[in-house]
């Protein structure tokens, strides 16, 4: 008896290709193959899980930890755990980090953030300029506040973030506020509800022309706190922007913003 082709067996396992089905009644070998592929598919369904954006701050901790490796690179890096991977070899001169060291640059997590400043693509730039013009035209911005209930926080400036883009109609305005806590400036972004997005939400500071930008991190809850780099000049980057970023490995701004508003105070 001739067995069914592999493709037909796989299709049968997924509930298709009914025309091969009668053969299964007579052929234990094909039947067992279909059963086996069917349980593979079942196990695959159970094992699948959608990506979950890590909370804001995880990347900053990674960046800070790898930054501490850089000056002490001559020493063997300590890796955690018995099954740790082999220690890294010394930097080669071609490595970007090594170049930073040669120039005597201070390599910190902030350095990584600086590298992320990017220009918009032309289309996104036009959209961004139009939006920032709209922000400038609206007078409804900015009161300096003292945060109540958090004695160690001092309000520095704040912004109302207006919805924009294709998700704009489905969200309510958000608020952003710069506070100081224990000498560290934080940007606190508050939304009424996180929209469902294909990807994740990223918070940025843009310059007034929306040409330069700094990524601050992921917004994954209704109140997200993000550390501001100590030497970042807020006057140079006064616009808070929240974008939808797809998981495409591209670190630049997608051009797809959900909220935007200017800091003041």
């Amino acid at each position: 008896m001739q067995h069914l082709p592999d493709e037909t067996l796989a299709a049968l396992a997924l509930g298709e290709a009914a025309d091969g089905a009668p053969h299964l009644d007579d052929c234990p070998a094909c039947r067992s193959e279909v059963d086996s592929l069917r349980s593979t598919a079942d196990r695959f369904r159970l094992a699948d899980l959608p990506a979950l954006p890590p909370p804001a701050g995880v990347w900053d901790r990674i960046a800070a930890e790898i930054a501490t490796d850089l000056p002490a690179d001559a020493e063997a890096p300590a890796t955690a755990g018995a099954s740790a991977v082999p220690p890294a070899l010394p930097f080669t001169p071609s490595s970007g980090a090594a170049r930073g060291l040669e120039e005597g640059a201070e390599v910190t997590s902030i350095d990584v953030a600086r590298r992320r400043r990017r220009r918009f693509s032309a289309g996104a730039l036009i959209a961004a300029c139009a939006a920032s013009a709209a922000v400038a035209a609206s007078a409804a911005v900015v009161v300096v506040t003292q945060l109540t209930g958090e004695p160690r926080s001092i309000g520095v400036s704040e912004a109302t973030l207006d919805p924009l883009g294709e998700l704009g109609p489905s969200v309510t305005p958000a608020r952003a506020e710069v506070v100081e806590q224990d000498g560290q400036r934080l940007l606190v972004v508050d939304v009424d509800a996180l929209p469902e997005v294909d990807g994740y939400l990223d918070v940025w500071l843009l310059d007034a022309d929306a040409q330069q930008m700094v990524s601050l991190g992921v917004m994954d809850r209704e109140t997200t706190q993000l550390a501001l780099p100590a030497d970042l000049d807020l006057a140079a980057y006064p616009i808070v922007d929240v974008s939808v970023e797809p998981y495409d490995g591209d670190p630049t701004h997608s051009g797809n913003s959900v909220w935007r508003g200017a800091l003041g105070g």
Partner: protein, 179 residues
């Protein structure tokens, strides 16, 4: 693309891109194995390990995503090892061995399966990855997939068949290794 960039000149910027691409996957895997707070630590440890062992990454042996998932697997095992030593008073080596073989705790079994699936999906590449996801997870017909990917139905079926068998073989290997 990212695999090659990482192998040729692994800068913090390339690591950041890898984090944006696979950080969410590692976090989801870790969350399946432990509370969210610990999972954050595992994400951090995974990417720090990725950075520190960057010289040992060989793109010829597989894509970067699969390598990162493998490292995540070790960091998750480390977490359970440390936990067993401090809280469970079980011989850490015994538990680590069980983890490597993917047996014992049902939660860990599920994690092992998730890790294996994600590793394999990273390995099989496109268009097989998309095809198998659409067919198995979204229950799309081969005709629908062929239509939306502008591909002959026969090609979709053969990709699907190969991807399913590959996944099954991989599970059988893991099982045989633990026997």
């Amino acid at each position: 693309m990212l695999s090659r960039a990482f192998a040729e000149d692994a800068s913090p910027e390339v690591l950041r891109q890898a984090y944006e691409r696979w950080g969410g996957l590692v976090y989801a895997l870790a969350c399946r194995a432990m509370p969210a707070h610990d999972a954050e630590d595992v994400v951090q440890q995974t990417f720090v390990s990725v950075w520190r062992s960057r010289q040992s990454y060989d793109p010829a042996s597989g894509p970067l995503g699969a390598w990162i998932v493998t490292i995540a697997r070790r960091r998750i095992a480390d977490h359970w090892k440390a936990r067993s030593a401090s809280e469970l008073a079980v011989d850490p080596e015994t538990l680590a061995g069980a983890l490597d073989r993917g047996e014992g705790d049902p939660v860990l079994d599920a994690v092992q399966d998730s890790l294996t699936v994600q590793e394999e999906l990273e390995h099989i590449g496109e268009p097989q990855r998309t095809i198998v996801r659409l067919a198995v997870l979204e229950d799309r017909s081969t005709a629908w997939i062929a239509d939306s990917l502008a591909m002959p139905v026969g090609t979709v079926k053969s990709h699907l068949s190969r991807a399913l068998r590959r996944l099954r073989d991989r599970w059988e290997e893991t099982h045989a290794a633990s026997a």
